[in-house]
Symmetry: C2
Subunit: 561 residues, 2 copies
């Protein structure tokens, strides 16, 4: 009974994962994934391709079942393991995924009349129905409250809190009127577990509020009622119900209720940490601290880094957000990202289906890895799904230049991988230009786990070693770490994230080291990438592209000789 | 015995074709193709990818065998057909394809010591070994004789006469010293048939000399000895052996020799017309005259038009050539072209092999034809093999912009076809900007014959009806028409090309008419194409491309709604 464990709960797009972790060394004792039952793999869709919702019933059922299964797995793995040894729970979710609730904090979707109404469900992060509203919010903020935009890269996104709410207010008055409050699921799930859903008891996390709802202590929390009321009077009413006391993940929102103790087999009163977004707790699980950039690499990427909050930081143009305490208490959290990375490779393999029937990821990566840097003569932009950082512009698209009559699928595949690496380098450079030093890059997520070819290109392009997080489940691990911190030393946990991370996180042995020759070529190619990036992506660039194709031919010639 | 026939001989890259044509109506009575035996499908290659040669023995053997077979076919087709009824012969060939010959006009390759030496063979049109020499000639002409360049678009190509000879002089002194003269095969083959190969009797055609060897009456024929001698003294010596009396295709070079009459079964003394390039006689076979643009559409295109030579014409920047009499006597001939058209579609199908195993031309064209103009959101440049007209720049490459995560192979295929159509429109516009009116576009060649999808896009993009030549063998037909003209009325032929073309050429019934709605969209897309064209292809453009992706998205939105 000496060992102590925590549970991380990771609510993704299609499923929820529960992870039981040993506090002393981060060992992952048991895990279980429960796939959401509603919609298409958990996502409710409609004829409008912008719409993407989740039914909150999936969170409730998935929480109970995934925790039970993970505990069973832990018992199987370790004789004598006892759920009583679990001393804390952490929660991470997708976001911004706001959920309309009634005056008791119960989801509208739980009411019979709204049970099948997508607008009454959780508006999933990738829901883009609020594109027009996002533009309206951006424009108004530009005029009245430029400071709001400065913290979120200059553009308010259709993926975010107020765009979604305003769209609902505009298009579904019935749901809008029935909703007393809108709650991020990152906040709602911990509240559910601790019986604090009621709006007067609800705890809000700084991560979701700060990054997606323009919450900042500088202006007293959420945007002011005058600003919100100018958008729509309903938002001014909503503002009166939004508390201005968002807190960091080292603080608990409460203890597990009797009911949830019964449903999960855990101890009643087990502290539950304030919720946060998956990428942010993923960064914690990958060992983030000052000087470390964590890249969560999947279909898209999230790039997270932190810097001590003992002096004010300048705004960084093009960043999704700079929020004090959003990742680690005592640090500013910086969030950047690429709108598509793995999705671009998937598009090429699944939509273009190149190379007869032989164009699998494995086969293309194998052939592409035999090419030298610059040998293909190709250069691509990684904007098939727009550009999140540093341009914050959805209305961009892919570009490929340098094709001859002999260009092969493997060359194209490599060019697409290189393009995402150039995009990653652009983010690193932006951080460093504004004084956020990147001393180490730690990768996690599906691509980091499974794709050494991509990792090596990233090392060669950036000229930096690419580390990979030891855990394959950094988001759930980060949530478990938050659980260990809210448990505190008195319960056998930790008093700080620093201690918890030192014990519970680590790196894989394999480090991808940059090849100096390849890096030299990529330095040249990156100049051309930046030229295209600025020419197509900014309205301040002015120039001529006459030399681009010629330089690609020269670089190709050099690589081939 | 009343009917009269002519024979057109068409020497291509892989084979020679003989075509027996009825003079009264252009009916094609018999045809035969003989595949060259040397090298790889008739082309001698080496480890240097720029090298491409032909063995002249193939011309000799192919001439005899193809004529005999074509005559046999004609006899089978028409009872009572008699080779004696053939009253004239015309010849077209690829070019510039110069052949080094000895002081008797015999190819060096026929000498035992040179039999296997590629440098002693014919240097095929697509041989690019003389890239450095071409640049040197261009630079020297720019300094000393800018007027030479003005007639050939501002750049002397590595595919042309003097680049090849100079490269041989520089790299193979043995062949260079043994060569008394270099002769275009368009001139050498008619000379062979008429026994006039000897340098003092040799007739040179204005088509090859004017377009590829900087021959112009304005400066007394070929470039002067001082200019050529500055490049290399050997060229000054060569200059003394080049006659300054190039002639048009309406004039014979002589009559068929007894020997060739015996080898072919034709009448001794049958007049043989001055030779010309395939594209130029192809234009004749497609019915070219003032106001008509003939597009020979295959792996690449040749775009030919003519204008009365009764007043001097301004030089047109970017055109491959403006030569008095190169296509029709009494007209300036204008040659333009696209370095790759069908080759780009072939690249996509054969190298990228999209859509699993289902990405055939037919399947992609079928799917692409269902899309609306602008619907894909894609835009491409047609430069995978450089740009011949109007940029005259080999050091360019392909470009595709507008890709999303849902872009399909059919959309890409259509974008590539559209790109070549935009390239075609750029050529038409250039002609018209300089006063060469294009009243009608007549297409011929493989794509015009077989690809209605491509033809429709060309109509929609250019906003002009696309006609298709009735004959599928316009080059050989044009050569046969030259044969009818050199025979003259007294032998049952014609006294002019106008008469001969009226009788012997025609159009197919199917005309591809532009769809006004599609054309309106393509007008917008063409503005974007021109922006990319000028941004990447010229050093005079100066600007910003920020709106390109956004406009493509708007056009896509419009097309989809």
């Amino acid at each position: 009974m000496n060992n102590r464990y925590t549970i991380g709960l990771d609510y993704g797009t299609n499923s929820v994962r529960a992870l039981v972790v040993d506090i002393t060394n981060g060992r992952e004792l048991g895990t279980a994934v429960w796939n959401y039952k509603h919609g298409n793999e958990g996502v409710i869709l409609s004829r409008d391709p912008n719409l993407a919702r989740q039914h909150p019933a999936d969170y409730v059922r998935g929480t109970a079942l995934s925790i039970r299964k993970a505990l069973t797995a832990a018992k199987r793995r370790l004789k004598g393991f006892n759920p009583e040894q679990v001393i804390g729970i952490g929660v991470d979710t997708t976001g911004s995924t706001p959920l309309p609730v009634d005056r008791n904090g119960h989801p509208l979707a739980f009411q019979k009349r709204f049970a099948k109404n997508p607008d009454a469900m959780a508006w999933l992060w990738k829901d883009h129905t609020g594109v027009a509203e996002a533009a309206e919010i951006t424009e108004l903020a530009r005029k009245l409250r430029p400071q709001y935009l400065a913290k979120c890269g200059g553009v308010y996104s259709s993926e975010w809190f107020f765009s979604k709410i305003l769209h609902c207010v505009r298009t579904n008055p019935e749901v809008a009127e029935a909703s007393h409050l809108w709650v991020e699921i990152a906040d709602w799930i911990p509240a559910l577990l601790t019986g604090t859903e009621s709006p007067d008891r609800l705890t809000v996390g700084i991560c979701a509020a700060g990054h997606k709802a323009m919450y900042n202590a500088e202006w007293g929390g959420y945007p002011d009622a005058e600003f919100l009321g100018t958008l729509n009077p309903a938002l001014a009413v909503l503002r009166t119900r939004l508390h201005s006391n968002a807190q960091t993940v080292d603080r608990p929102v409460g203890g597990l209720t009797k009911e949830w103790a019964r449903r999960t087999g855990l101890r009643e009163g087990t502290p539950v940490a304030t919720g946060a977004f998956d990428a942010h707790l993923g960064a914690v699980g990958a060992g983030i601290t000052g000087g470390i950039l964590v890249k969560i690499m999947g279909t898209s990427t999230c790039d997270i880094t932190v810097a001590r909050n003992n002096s004010p930081f300048p705004d960084i143009p093009g960043l999704c957000g700079i929020v004090d305490g959003s990742v680690l208490p005592g640090y500013y959290g910086f969030e950047a990202g690429q709108s598509a990375v793995g999705d671009i490779f998937n598009w090429f393999v699944n939509y273009i289906r190149p190379d007869g029937k032989k164009g699998t990821h494995d086969a293309l990566a194998r052939a592409a890895s035999k090419l030298k840097a610059g040998e293909s003569g190709l250069l691509a932009l990684d904007w098939n799904n727009g550009n999140r950082t540093i341009l914050v512009d959805q209305r961009l698209s892919g570009l490929l230049v340098g094709q001859t009559l002999y260009t092969t699928p493997a060359e194209m595949y490599r060019a697409l991988v290189e393009a995402t690496a150039f995009g990653a380098l652009t983010i690193i450079n932006r951080f460093e230009e504004y004084g956020v030093t990147v001393e180490q890059v730690v990768n996690c997520g599906g691509i980091a786990e499974k794709n050494p070819f991509v990792m090596q290109i990233y090392a060669d392009v950036t000229g930096r070693p690419m580390m990979v997080s030891r855990s394959a489940q950094t988001c759930a691990l980060g949530a478990a770490i938050a659980g260990a911190v809210v448990a505190g030393k008195q319960s056998g946990g930790y008093d700080s994230f620093t201690e918890a991370q030192q014990a519970m996180t680590g790196l894989k042995n394999r480090v991808f080291k940059p090849d100096p020759a390849a890096h030299a070529v990529y330095k040249e190619l990156y100049q051309l990438y930046r030229t295209l990036h600025d020419a197509f992506g900014t309205n301040s660039w002015h120039g001529n592209l006459y030399s681009v194709m010629k330089q690609l031919i020269e670089i190709r010639k050099g690589a081939r000789s």
